[in-house]
């Protein structure tokens, strides 16, 4: 099993956001996590990536390693990648410089050869084609002044460059028009491989037309309350959470984070 989450709890202050998440993801699989706002989807993504704001109990094993014991940078080196819902703008740090620094940091920790500027530029340009990104993005500061769609494409570009084993996409589709969605999904599908897994967090069935999941989970109130195959997403789309008999309103107390 690539990822094994057992009884994962996460809280900020007295506010418990994850209330016992259990999830297993095998290599080669794509899992979708759906759920209403505030159900804990983004918190799960952040906790897996190593955000330090949360008090955490439970276990997470990633390729049989204790993921929770690793720093965020060590998780990246181990092959974990989070495409952020709200990628942060970093004025003064050039996109190309940042990408090469990230790439070489990860390569170094994986015991692989680092690339010089020219070598990296060649790689980056090849990957930029996948997400139809203009070369001028490289000379701009990280995400600074990028439109919502450009930021999401930059996330996918980073993913294609860092070549993670497990990619978590946190509402990468939110705020995208249909063309941007196609581009982003194309980048994601280009990365699908038998030795790579993905967790796709989304509000909408729409994305799952492009990235077809092996498993679909419904998260409510900090727990995964229902799991199924891709038809579960269609069912949700048709009937809503209430239609599946899921009590959503009563879980408002857990509302934190994820707002589109």
């Amino acid at each position: 099993m690539m990822l094994k989450i057992e009884n994962l709890h996460a809280q900020i202050g007295d506010n418990e956001i994850l209330r016992g998440v259990n999830l297993e993801v095998a290599a080669g699989e794509v899992h979708a996590i759906m759920g209403p706002n505030g159900s804990g989807k983004s918190t799960l993504a952040n906790v897996l990536a190593g955000h330090e704001a949360y008090g955490i109990t439970g276990t997470v094993r990633f390729e049989d390693e204790d993921l929770l014991a690793l720093s965020p940078e060590d998780r990246a080196a181990a092959g974990l990648f989070l495409a952020f819902q709200h990628p942060v703008e970093i004025p003064g740090v050039g996109n190309l410089y940042f990408l090469r620094m990230a790439f070489n940091s990860v390569r170094r920790r994986r015991g692989l050869e680092e690339l010089d500027v020219m070598g990296f530029l060649a790689l980056a340009q090849e990957r930029m084609k996948l997400v139809e990104m203009d070369r001028s993005f490289m000379s701009r500061s990280v995400n600074e002044g990028f439109s919502g769609g450009e930021k999401k494409r930059n996330e996918i570009l980073q993913m294609t460059i860092l070549e993670p084993k497990l990619a978590i996409l946190d509402e990468t589709d939110s705020g995208l028009d249909i063309d941007a969605l196609r581009i982003v999904a194309g980048g994601v599908n280009a990365l699908r491989r038998p030795d790579r897994a993905m967790i796709v967090i989304t509000h909408h069935q729409r994305l799952l037309d492009y990235i077809v999941p092996d498993r679909v989970h419904v998260m409510v109130g900090g727990r995964i309350v229902r799991s199924g195959d891709k038809d579960l997403a269609l069912e949700l789309e048709e009937h809503g959470y209430a239609g599946l008999g899921l009590e959503v309103a009563s879980d408002r107390s857990a509302s934190v984070g994820a707002t589109p």
């Binding site: 965020p72 940078e73 080196a77 990648f81 989070l82 620094m101 920790r109």
Partner: protein
């Protein structure tokens, strides 16, 4: 009881007076001195003795305690005590930005011709040392010495007037365009008693001329020094002057400096300073926009750490119509460092159409780092556009997490974000070789601790 005792102790050792300091430093203007200069020195001596040292009650000195400086028994650098012996050509090479540049080197305020480079001077510019100009009578220089700072004079600028013997003299003829930066290197070097130096420099830019000057302050470690420097700049109509200053004196040094600028009509002045060194440094900049349509851009980066104190008192006077001024100061304060931005803008009644802006941003890298930021606007006319803003904050935790989640190690991510904070100022440096030089200094600073190790204290 304890409190009373300690109070009594403090008052028992009376703070030294201006007269005490001057008598120790010896008021003995050397060489053949013009009569007006002797007169000007006496006038400043009388004024400073009567006025005394500034205290924390003075608005412009409110954040800089002078006690540690006044407690040091400074002496004047002597001619026969081997001052400057430890300054080698290799040391000058390391401080030089471009080996081919015109360069004046001063050790403890005195010209060191053997370390300077004055060959191949471009046409239309005089570059020499002030002492040699004064030795020839210093025609026309009287206004620069006869109480030139008026109500803004203070004990240290007055002491400089009393004691200054040497410094740089740069005069650019009308329409002359000097493209390569002229480098001025001021070294402090004390290996015996503490030394105080009082360099005085003049930069006079003729009508429509252009010149760039870099002042570098550094020193040998070991002794205690105080640099009390004054640089006066005058821009005639349409002149353009770029001034840069790198203050990288040893950690035991004291550094007090005034950059005093007067601008004629349509002139453009820019100042970029970076403060890295000294125990206590006060880098004062005063710009008086006297001619219509003059423009000034005053920028600074200060990086105090350890127990360093970097004070930046700025005074911009808008005294003519339609002038513009812009200030951008950034502080990166680590460990127990203390940064100060004390920026004052005065818009006089006869300065309609003034456009003034002032920005001060500070990054605190440790819980013990301290910043005082104080904008002071005094606007005495209508029809003015004035904007000012100040900010103090820590590194953006979300940006830090973002970088780390991409595999960038924690320390590298911190350094990257800190450097990014400074970069806006570095990008303003026009000369590429100078920009690279300053970038190297700043990145070098950000990748080490004050004790010289690579690890970040993280306190």
């Amino acid at each position: 009881m304890t409190t009373v005792t300690s109070t009594a102790k403090t008052s028992a050792t009376a703070a030294p007076t201006v007269a005490d300091l001057l008598s120790r430093l010896g008021f003995r203007p050397s060489g053949p001195s013009p009569a007006w200069l002797t007169q000007a020195r006496h006038a400043s001596l009388g004024w400073a003795t009567a006025r005394g040292f500034p205290t924390l009650k003075d608005e412009d000195w409110k954040y800089t305690r002078l006690g540690p400086l006044l407690d040091v028994p400074f002496e004047r650098a002597g001619d026969g005590d081997g001052a400057g012996r430890r300054v080698s050509p290799a040391m000058i090479d390391a401080l030089t930005i471009d080996a081919a540049s015109t360069r004046l080197v001063f050790v403890n305020g005195l010209f060191a011709p053997e370390l300077s480079l004055l060959t191949d001077l471009p046409e239309g510019v005089t570059v020499t040392n002030l002492a040699s100009v004064l030795a020839e009578g210093g025609a026309g220089l009287e206004p620069f010495f006869s109480r030139p700072f008026g109500e803004y004079d203070h004990a240290f600028t007055a002491i400089n007037t009393v004691l200054a013997e040497d410094g740089a003299f740069i005069q650019v003829a009308a329409d002359a365009l000097i493209t390569a930066p002229i480098e001025l290197v001021f070294l402090s070097d004390a290996h015996g008693p503490p030394i105080m130096a009082n360099p005085r420099s003049l930069i006079l830019a003729g009508p429509r001329s252009r010149v760039a000057v870099v002042e570098t302050y550094a020193g040998t470690s070991g002794g205690v020094t105080c640099t009390n420097a004054v640089t006066q700049v005058v821009l005639d109509e349409g002149a353009r002057v770029e001034h840069y200053k790198i203050q990288d004196e040893p950690d035991a040094a004291f550094h007090l400096a005034l950059l005093d600028v007067r601008q004629g009509p349509g002139s453009r002045f820019s100042s970029g300073s970076v403060a890295l060194g000294s125990k206590i440094a006060r880098n004062e900049v005063r710009v008086r926009l006297e001619g219509e349509g003059a423009e000034a851009g005053i920028d600074g980066l200060y990086l105090p750490r350890g127990d360093q104190h970097h004070d930046n008192p700025i005074l911009i006077e808008h005294a003519a119509p339609r002038c513009s001024s812009r200030q951008l100061y950034k502080g990166i304060v680590d460990e127990r460092g203390h940064g100060v931005f004390n920026g004052r803008i005065i818009v006089w009644p006869d300065a309609p159409g003034t456009d003034a802006s002032q920005t001060n941003k500070n990054l605190l890298l440790s819980d013990h780092a301290e910043v005082d930021t104080r904008p002071r606007l005094e606007i005495l006319t209508d029809d003015v556009k004035c904007a000012h803003g100040a900010a103090v904050g820590a590194l953006d935790e979300e940006a830090l997490f973002y970088l780390r989640s991409r595999g960038v190690p924690h320390e590298a991510a911190r350094a990257l974000l800190t450097y990014a904070f400074a970069r806006e100022l570095l990008d303003l440096i026009e000369s590429e070789s100078l920009r690279t030089h300053v970038e190297t200094l700043v990145t070098g600073r950000l990748s080490t601790d004050s004790d010289g190790t690579g690890a970040h204290s993280g306190d």
